[in-house]
């Protein structure tokens, strides 16, 4: 095994709790040091998710005086401590678990406003992009990005967020249905875009099994138009096209 491959084993040992359960094996960590390595792995995970929660749940953070809570607090709780023994840093599954913890933590009654659940859904979907660094497994057909999600909201989030930043009131004028697609590129750039119904249908029909033509057929979108949409979705990491 090359030195570079040995280093990869050490990194895997720190990032993946299921690898630590089996013992160091390929990672050259001596028996007396495994406890310290586990401590360091926990430090890394707590730091990683605290940072992603702070960046993703930044709008709900503005209401901390009303709610008495912020998303980052979940990494100091007992549930997170239990999660550390199962955590795969950067995986979608880990991001979903932590995101759910944060959403539940911030959903305690009384809610600050009628749009609060929509805001938390938005921040949860954003968090999945920020915290899930997993790469797609290459597929012969167009497949969805690992963390890409399409969500419908009862409130116009794209207009609401600037108002929240400016400390302005949110009125019923923003009660409008919008569909947002959240995605992340390989380089880690996060996109949130409002999508039309046709694009949403194309995204939802992209399952790693259908060909581009079958996606067009299933969605009723002309084949050429569906291809353009898929290319556009691929540029923002929402789908992966076969190479």
């Amino acid at each position: 095994m090359s030195d570079r491959a040995v280093q990869d084993e050490v990194i895997r040992y720190l990032a993946d709790a299921s690898v630590r359960v089996k013992g160091p094996h390929g990672a050259p960590i001596c028996a007396g040091e495994t406890a310290k390595a586990a401590q360091f792995a926990h430090f890394l995970a707590r730091r990683y998710y605290r940072d992603r929660l702070a960046r993703s749940f930044r709008y709900s953070h503005r209401f901390r005086k009303q709610t008495g809570r912020i998303a980052e607090e979940v990494v100091d709780g007992a549930e997170f401590d239990r999660f550390l023994s199962e955590c795969v840093m950067g995986s979608l599954e880990s991001a979903q678990r932590i995101g759910e913890m944060a959403r539940a933590h911030l959903t305690a009654e009384p809610l600050p406003a009628a749009w609060w659940p929509d805001l938390l859904d938005y921040e949860y979907a954003y968090f999945l992009q920020a915290a899930a660094a997993e790469r797609e497994v290459s597929s012969d057909q167009p497949s969805p990005g690992v963390s890409a999600v399409c969500r419908r909201f009862a409130w116009a989030l794209p207009e609401m967020l600037p108002r929240l930043r400016a400390g302005e009131a949110i009125g019923d004028d923003l009660r409008r249905e919008v569909t947002l697609l959240f995605s992340r590129t390989h380089a880690g750039r996060i996109y949130v875009v409002e999508v039309e119904p046709e694009v949403e249908r194309v995204f939802r029909a992209t399952d790693g099994h259908r060909t581009a033509n079958e996606i067009a057929e299933a969605t009723g979108v002309p084949a050429e138009q569906a291809r353009v949409m898929l290319a556009s979705l691929a540029s923002i990491g929402a789908v992966q096209l076969p190479s």
């Binding site: 090359s2 030195d3 570079r4 491959a5 040995v6 280093q7 990869d8 050490v10 990194i11 895997r12 720190l14 990032a15 993946d16 990672a27 050259p28 960590i29 001596c30 040091e33 310290k36 390595a37 401590q39 360091f40 926990h42 430090f43 890394l44 707590r46 730091r47 990683y48 702070a54 840093m89 950067g90 660094a133 997993e134 790469r135 380089a187």
Partner: protein, 278 residues
Amino acid sequence: MPSFIAERLSVGTFYNPHLAEALLSEGAAVDHLSMADPPAGDDALFPRIRDQFPLLLHDYLGQLADPLSDHALERARGLQQLYRGPWIAEHFQCLHTEDGKYTLDYVFPPLYTEDFLRRFVANARRLADFVGAPLVMENIPGFFSVEHAQMSEAEFLRRFFEETGCGFLIDVPHLWLAAHYQRRNPRQYIGEFSLDKVVEIHVGGVEDDRDLGGPWVAPTRPTREILALGVWIAERAPRLRAVTVDQFSPALAADVMFESVEMTREAFGVSRAERRTA
């Protein structure tokens, strides 16, 4: 754009965008700023920051354990063209797997072996050549021991500096922590490193961490011990140009930042300078 003053030690800190207004209004308190992230698109104060302070590129440019991609090299060159600092910085780190599947998202040292030394030497040369600026490299502490090393951290760094001609960005809290967890005397431990190659010193604070059960770096005021070690290094570093307080956090308060810089000035005996624009 202001430049470093050649004949005096520059005392600075990191650019924390939420403190931009405070930095601009207290102009002479800080000599230079290290840039850990590119300026955000909505950072309206950055153009004024760039006009007022010399900037040092201290971003994540890529891990030099592996060859940098063309995109990473272009990005590094673009950032250096924006900042135009006298040198650029990277770290002795290897934090993600070669296939990109796992990342620690945090500085983590490589195995100190001949193979890794070859990799760092080749990739550092390519980065410095492509960007067209001197490269300084920062030491990274380990928290636990790995049984694969063929040399000490000090020897790995010494040979790297000799082969590449790169400068040493010596991070004092990192070395203090490495010594602490190896139960070594910090001065003896630091004395093994190539202090004659030091161009920049990082000072900073440490705090107890619940997971580690001991101290680790934190965006707090530098401790007296860290500052004293920094001064001890400075006395042995004829190429030293800058001392930077390593504090980069959205939670950092302006008073902590300015107090930390003042403490550092006092320790190193450097008064505030008249700002000079090139």
